[in-house]
Structures are given as structure tokens and as C-alpha cells.
């Protein structure tokens, strides 16, 4: 994970707050994410980490606060003051979202090649041979055998589905990717393979990423920086190894000391 010295942040969260009716989801989250940087959001169920991810990825509109994003042309825009079609284009091209459940991020009745190719067609690719070649290349990069390109994800194992979802997200060379518990629900051996793959691809492509996880080992392996959430608020943030090795907040100390040694 290299640290590029881009001057301007790619994504800026400024006082993000979300209420569901009177129920607080997330309160006053602010941070900056730079190109090539991976930030992990950790916390227990109900801590607000998924709400924060939904806000950041534009899937739900904040009750207060704003999200600024630097476009490829260098200009910075407020996500919710963009037009709906522009925002959708951004999601299809510049961003990716990896769901914990691959069924949410894949079309289960479409072939693996089609799942990857669809993202390319959405940004204007039309040549079948080119699309198939790129899709095939990406399946290789996520270690899916080439002879499975015409099979649907229904015939895939959980780990393969998750790798396919990653290929589908990355084929348009996004700059920013959101991941919600990307290794949740997978066997430990499959998790290790996926983590290694994610680590390598993120570093090769210089991707910025926001990874929500409850697994501190995943956070340590993938992220440069970490935010710890509790009760809808970010209670501690900093360098990943610093926060995990020298936690200051009582709740972070509890989290870190609650891991069972393997």
C-alpha cells in the first residue's frame, strides 16, 4: 500500500450525520481519504459503521453534513449537489462497491463473463471480442479458471462469487472502492486467499478504499488508517497499527483485548 503524495483528498466527509426518524445512525463523521489510501471502519454491530458506508457511497442521503469528491478532471464536487445521472455515472465508473453477500453485487442468472462485461458496456464498450478479452483477463486476475467464464455465479462457491464480485467492480478501473465485510461469511482459508488478492490488487491499482469490518485482523492487513465507531460516532482514529497497538479509548482497548489468540 503505497502512499501517494497527491495534494488534494479524493474524498472528504464533513460532519456526516444520519438519523432514521429519531434513531441516530451516525453522528458527525469527518475525515479525508487520499488516493492509494485504505481506511478501515471497525466497531460492533449497531455501531454505525454500515450507515457510514452507505452515506459515503451515496446510497443514502445524509441528514446533515456533506461529501466532497475530486473528479478525474481535478475539480471537487459535492456529491448531493450533482445531478442524479451524473451521480449514477460516477457510481458506475469511478467507484466500486463490494457487498458482504456477493448475491447483492452480482447478477446470479448471468454468466461470469457477462457480470464483468456488463460494467464495461455501461460505460460504452460495444465490441464483444474486446469485452470478452478484458473480462477473461480479470477473471484470471481474481484466480477464476478461464473455462468457468460462461458459467453463472450460481454454480460458483462462496469464495469464487466474492472474487467475481471484485472483478466486476474493478474492471472499469475505479479510483475508489467501498467494501462491506468483504471476507465475512467465508471460510478462514478462503478469507486468507481473498485478503491476499485484495491487498495485491489495491496496491497495484493504487486504489483508495473504505473497508467496513468487525475483524481487526482484516483491518490490520488491508488498511493504512482506521476509525473505531461506537454508538454512531467515531471515537478513535489514526494509523492502523498505532490505534491497534496503543489504543487510548476504553472501548478500543476492550475491542483489541477481546480477540482470542489463534
Amino acid at each position: 500500500m503505497s502512499v501517494t503524495q497527491a495534494e488534494q483528498p479524493l474524498l472528504t466527509a464533513d460532519g456526516l450525520t444520519k438519523y432514521y426518524g429519531r434513531q441516530l445512525g451516525c453522528r458527525d463523521a469527518s475525515f479525508e481519504l487520499y488516493e492509494g489510501e485504505v481506511i478501515a471502519v471497525v466497531g460492533e454491530s449497531g455501531s454505525g459503521k454500515s450507515t457510514l458506508l452507505q452515506l459515503l457511497s451515496g446510497q443514502s442521503e445524509p441528514s446533515a453534513g456533506r461529501i466532497l469528491y475530486r473528479l478525474r478532471d481535478g475539480s471537487t464536487t459535492d456529491l448531493w449537489s450533482m445531478s442524479e445521472p451524473m451521480r449514477r455515472l460516477l457510481f458506475r465508473t469511478d467507484w466500486g462497491f463490494v457487498h458482504q453477500d456477493p448475491q447483492l453485487g452480482l447478477r446470479m442468472g448471468v454468466s461470469a463473463g457477462g457480470n464483468v462485461g456488463e460494467r464495461l458496456m455501461a460505460v460504452g464498450w460495444r465490441h464483444y471480442g474486446d469485452i470478452r478479452a478484458v473480462a477473461s483477463d480479470w477473471l484470471g486476475r481474481v484466480e477464476i479458471p478461464e473455462n468457468r467464464i460462461d458459467d453463472t455465479p450460481r454454480t460458483y462457491s462462496g469464495g469464487m462469487r466474492q472474487r467475481l464480485q471484485i472483478a466486476r467492480n474493478l474492471v472499469t478501473s475505479p479510483r475508489l472502492i467501498f467494501m462491506d465485510e468483504p471476507t465475512g461469511g467465508l471460510d478462514v482459508s478462503v478469507q486468507a486467499r481473498l485478503l491476499d488478492l485484495l491487498r495485491r490488487i489495491v496496491s497495484e491499482m493504487g486504489l483508495a478504499a473504505v473497508v467496513v469490518t468487525h475483524d481487526l485482523a482484516v483491518a490490520r492487513l488491508l488498511s493504512n488508517r482506521i476509525m473505531v465507531m461506537k454508538g454512531g460516532a467515531v471515537i478513535e482514529a489514526g494509523l492502523t497499527d498505532q490505534v491497534l497497538d496503543d489504543p487510548h479509548e476504553p472501548y478500543t482497548q476492550l475491542l483489541v483485548s477481546s480477540i482470542l489468540p489463534a
Binding site: M1, S2, A192, L239, D245, D246, P250
Partner: protein, 236 residues
């Protein structure tokens, strides 16, 4: 150039206390008023009984522990960064270009081969992959790691083999400031000599080195002077 400008590393009035919230907010003072400087080409050994905070000093310099008070000035290129107050991004950048930290323990990444683990810091630094692999190969050979192990993930290696992988990884990028925590702890005489050789090379290249070594022979061979960390122990 004045001597002041030659310091690669300067600690002043560094204080560290741990607050254990799970033990009813117990405060554990570890270090008080730590101050020393290390010049380019110098190697400093931290000494003192176990538990005096030697490793904590290295972790503070690396930014792995947060510093309560004081300054930790690290020279990086033509600039000086205060690790005690730097942003996470600044610390990451200093680590990438200027600051290396080698412990006795390899934090193994599943499925990654020994060769890739050793080469990774160079690749991250922007060195071309083939060059990085070639230099990692030389390093593994130097540390007498059998070639049949290079392509394997080190999780199943012996303690000594894992340590050699970790030291090779830590020493390969030629950082101008090196923090070595027991680099020779479980090595045999032959590999201890390799570490000593490499430390001498790095010193000649102008690296500033802070090390913790219990083995007195090794310490005498590499260190220019020693600092007794128990002088900085907090009167608890």
C-alpha cells in the same frame, strides 16, 4: 554544516504513559523525559533490564506508539518531521522513504511467498518488481535461506528462518534511519555475522541506527555508544 544539522534523529522530553481503562483507569508510566540524538553513520544501543521501555522507545520513534509529550524529530530527505505530532499520512510517508523497523517477529501474510515478503518494501517504494525480486534474492542468499523455501509462505518455517526472512525484509530497503529490535535474537553465529556485516555497510552508507541487542558481542561489534533506558524510567 553544524553538528546540529547532522542529526538524523533527535528525541527530546519524550514521555509515555499507558492508561489501562479495563483495569479501572490504571496509569502505567513507562518513560519520562527521554532525550538523545543519533547522527548519520552512528549506531546507538539501548540498554537496561527487561521492562524498562527499550522497545517502547523504538515504537515511539516509528509512530507505532503515540507520544504523550515531547518531540521526535526524524530527518527525511531535506525535511524534518516530528513523528510525535505528524499526521498519519506524514508518518506513512516517512516510514516508506526513511524509517525502517525490524523486530524479531515476522507478521506473516497468508499465502505470500518468502521472496515476495522480502521484496515488498522495495516495490512499495517504487522500485521495479524485477529489480526488487533480484535484490531480495541476493538478500535471502546472504542470510543462507535455502532456495527451496523462497517460493513458500513462511508460516510453516522455523523460528530462525522466519526471523531471517523478517530481517532481510527490514534491511533490504536501505532506509537512512533503522530501528532494530533484537535483530540477532534467535540466529546462529553465521547469520549473526551477516547481520553485523550489513549493519556495518549501512553505517558506512550513512544510516543512523538505534538497536536493542542483549548479546554483548554483537552490541560491541555494531554500537558506537549505549544509552541506559532505565535513566528514563518513570518513578512509578
Amino acid at each position: 554544516m553544524s553538528a546540529q544539522n547532522l542529526h538524523a534523529l533527535e528525541l527530546s522530553a519524550v514521555t509515555k504513559t499507558f492508561t489501562m481503562h479495563l483495569q479501572g483507569g490504571l496509569r502505567l508510566p513507562v518513560l519520562r523525559d527521554v532525550g538523545f540524538t543519533v547522527a548519520s553513520g552512528q549506531c546507538v544501543a539501548l540498554t537496561g533490564p527487561s521492562g524498562t521501555g527499550k522497545s517502547s522507545v523504538l515504537k515511539l520513534i516509528y509512530g507505532n506508539y503515540r507520544c504523550d509529550e515531547g518531540r521526535i524529530l526524524v530527518r527525511t530527505g531535506d525535511a524534518v518531521v516530528d513523528v510525535a505530532s505528524a499526521s498519519p499520512r506524514q508518518i506513512l510517508s516517512v516510514r516508506q522513504t526513511s524509517l525502517g523497523y525490524v523486530t524479531q517477529f515476522l507478521r506473516a501474510v497468508p499465502r505470500v511467498s518468502a521472496l515476495d515478503i522480502v521484496a515488498e518494501p522495495l516495490v512499495t517504494k517504487g522500485v521495479a518488481r524485477e529489480t526488487a525480486i533480484a535484490r531480495a534474492t541476493d538478500m535471502l542468499r546472504r542470510f543462507n535461506v535455502p532456495e527451496r523455501l523462497w517460493s513458500l509462505p513462511p508460516a510453516t518455517f522455523s523460528g530462525g528462518e522466519q526471523q531471517r526472512i523478517n530481517i532481510a525484509r527490514g534491511l533490504l530497503p536501505e532506509h537512512p534511519i533503522l530501528l532494530l529490535d533484537e535483530p540477532t535474537a534467535s540466529l546462529d553465529a553465521k547469520n549473526r555475522a551477516v547481520v553485523i556485516d550489513i549493519v556495518h555497510e549501512r553505517k558506512r552508507q550513512g544510516a543512523a541506527i538505534v538497536t536493542i541487542v542483549h548479546d554483548e558481542d554483537v552490541r560491541d561489534a555494531i554500537a558506537d555508544f549505549a544509552i541506559d533506558v532505565s535513566h528514563f524510567a518513570s518513578a512509578a
